[in-house]
């Protein structure tokens, strides 16, 4: 098991290393430097170059960049001069995290409920409802759903604020927009798994030996059906990252996603690349956790050498 975890971790580090290296060389390729200001005299520019180590050979700069990133220093923003990217990310992280966690909890609760009911009442209108919700969740993306929610519940009905982030009421619509995808993914997954487990012999056995319906479902069906839910962990992380970009943009929420989108609009490259690294780390950690959980849950994967 330890070998498996180490192997997975090694891949992740290689992947991260490649991503960060690419970002470094791209940042070197970019047109314009932070010191392209024409008011700077050549002497002053030289001083600045020396101060930031830009006069040194590329490999020294590369090594320092790698060391800095390893220590969590993602450089300074071009646009907000001198503000460290890391600091800006940390400042905005709580809002994004709050929204993401709230959406995942809501999505898990509703998704699990819907999936379980749909499987137990297979081929009834509950089942149809689950399938319809699943299709909507896939086909109607956040950037369509967000404005629609805004229009119906904020503009027309006036139940919730249209945008901004000042109180918990402001977080209701964004959370809803974010969680629809989670609901549909989880519901579809749980439904399929439950249906499969319900047909297994050990469920029949459990019923035959006289366990009550509830006990069978809680102790035998749910437990086994939950296991594959691990597979949605990595896609969910990606989704929350991309979803936060969209939702925070639509609802003007001061989170990382909104910061990222606006730094694209003002060409703040150091911010873009820094946030890119942050997102990559997030995703790769999620992938690693998912792989490790896989290994713990399903020993067959370990035996197969962790392929697939």
């Amino acid at each position: 098991m330890l070998r498996y975890v180490l192997k997975r971790a090694a891949y992740m580090i290689v992947t991260l290393f490649i991503i960060i290296s690419i970002t470094f060389f791209i940042s070197k390729l970019l047109p314009g430097t932070p010191f392209a200001d024409e008011k700077l005299t050549p002497q002053l520019r030289e001083v600045l170059f020396e101060k930031y180590g830009l006069d040194e050979p590329l490999y020294v700069q590369y090594a320092r960049y790698m060391l800095n990133v390893a220590q969590g220093d993602l450089g300074n923003s071009f646009y907000f001069e001198g503000t460290p990217v890391t600091q800006m990310i940390l400042q905005r992280l709580p809002v994004s995290a709050f929204l993401g966690v709230q959406a995942v909890i809501l999505g898990l609760v509703l998704g699990l409920g819907l999936g379980i009911i749909a499987a137990l009442k297979h081929n009834t209108w509950w089942d149809t409802l689950a399938v319809v919700v699943a299709v909507i969740g896939i086909a109607v993306p956040t950037f369509v759903l967000g404005p629609i929610l805004q229009y119906i519940f904020a503009v027309q009905l006036g139940w919730f604020p249209v945008a901004f982030f000042e109180s918990w009421w402001h977080s209701v619509l964004p959370t809803l927009a974010l969680s629809v995808f989670v609901i549909s993914t989880v519901a579809r997954f749980v439904r399929t798994e439950m249906l499969e487990v319900l047909g297994q012999d050990y469920v029949t056995l459990a019923k035959a030996k006289g366990l009550s319906g509830l006990a069978v479902i809680l102790r035998h069906v749910l437990r086994n059906a939950m296991i594959p839910l691990v597979t949605v962990l990595a896609p969910l992380t990606i989704y929350l990252i991309t979803g936060s970009l969209v939702v925070e943009k639509i609802f003007v929420i001061p989170g990382i996603g909104e910061m990222f989108v606006s730094s694209i609009q003002v060409n703040d490259y150091s911010m873009i690349l820094g946030t890119t690294i942050f997102f990559s780390v997030l995703f790769i950690i999620a992938l690693l956790i998912q792989d490790i959980l896989y290994g713990i849950i399903d020993p067959r994967i370990r035996v197969a050498g962790g392929k697939e």
């Binding site: 109607v140 993306p141 369509v144 967000g146 992938l287």
Partner: protein, 310 residues
């Protein structure tokens, strides 16, 4: 009721000739893989309707859409800003007085181009990569799989951002982002099939008749994997369409004045309070595309491999 009883005498009975070859006679025309799949697909109403809608959207985007409007997608006229849907402008006009009808179909063309590109990359890169990796096995397979494992760890969004910082945002950046990681899942699926198929008897037979690697892959192994290949390709398409719209929505994709469904939805979201029709039309087309491609992919999966049905 009285019936006349006849005496049953042995001479009333005769031996029935059984032609042994009769059992081998084929009663109907043979049903091949494609015909069988098509028959199953025809039973799936959702998939058939989706196929029809996709064909219709194709026609609208490339032929009928531009033909039915005398205004181009980029023609601005500030005197006709924000006109609601009317007989002249079927979908209304936007903040620069551009005809939304033309812009929506221009955006649909971008989506369909991306769909085509993603499918092509799947076929041209994913299939050969997976086939070579799976067929050769051993050391080469190991190296090729390690490369894939690293690629899987790089989210598509990151690729798009990095591509954008080097090239300017636009169709090239989008294409790179789609092409870079889109083929990975196809390669994995094809490799799995190769590992399964290359040990089977028909492959052995072909090999013992002198078939060499490339010929064997092309003539036997890939044709036998066509079902999964097509199904996977069909699932790649809506993912790619969504991805393009998403990138355009956050400003990394198609740039104004060019139109994409994503960027149209983006600018419409800002005007939602007063001009909701701007959001309605691109959203409907986009959702139609997504639903139809997903349903068609589901239908094809069931048609090609009924065992996979869930």
């Amino acid at each position: 009721m009285e019936t006349e009883r006849k005496d049953l005498t042995p001479d009333l009975f005769g031996a029935v000739e059984i032609d042994e070859r009769e059992g081998e006679r084929i009663a109907g025309p043979p049903v091949g893989f494609w015909k069988d799949s098509w028959r199953r697909l025809k039973k799936n109403r959702g998939a058939l309707i989706s196929l029809g809608v996709i064909t219709l959207l194709f026609l609208m985007a490339f032929i009928l859409g531009p033909l039915l409007s005398q205004y181009g997608p980029y023609a601005q006229d500030l005197s006709r800003r924000f006109q609601g849907p009317s007989a002249e402008f079927w979908f209304g006009t936007d903040d620069f007085g551009r005809d939304l009808w033309s812009r929506v179909w221009a955006g649909t063309r971008v989506s369909l181009y991306i769909a085509f590109l993603a499918a092509a990359i799947d076929l041209l890169v994913g299939v050969p990569y997976g086939a070579i990796s799976g067929y050769l096995g051993g050391r080469i397979d190991d190296i090729m799989q390690r490369i894939i494992e690293v690629l899987v760890g790089i989210p598509g969004l990151i690729v798009a951002i990095l591509a954008m910082t080097v090239f300017s945002p636009g169709i090239i950046t989008l294409s790179i982002a789609v092409a870079f990681t889109g083929w990975v899942y196809m390669a994995r699926i094809v490799r799995g099939r190769m590992l399964q198929l290359k040990e089977q008897e028909f492959a052995l037979a072909s090999r013992s008749l002198g078939a060499k690697g490339f010929y064997l892959i092309r003539k036997h192994l890939i044709p036998n994997s066509l079902g999964p290949i097509i199904v996977n390709m069909m699932f790649t398409i809506p993912t790619a369409i969504f991805y393009e719209a998403f990138l355009s929505f956050i400003g990394l994709g198609i740039q104004v004045p060019r139109a994409s469904l994503g960027s149209l939805i983006d600018s419409a979201a800002a005007e939602i309070r007063f001009h909701p029709y701007l959001l309605v039309f691109p959203s409907i087309i986009f959702v139609l595309l997504m639903v139809c491609f997903n349903l068609l992919a589901d239908g094809l999966r069931d048609a090609f491999d009924p065992k996979m049905r869930k």
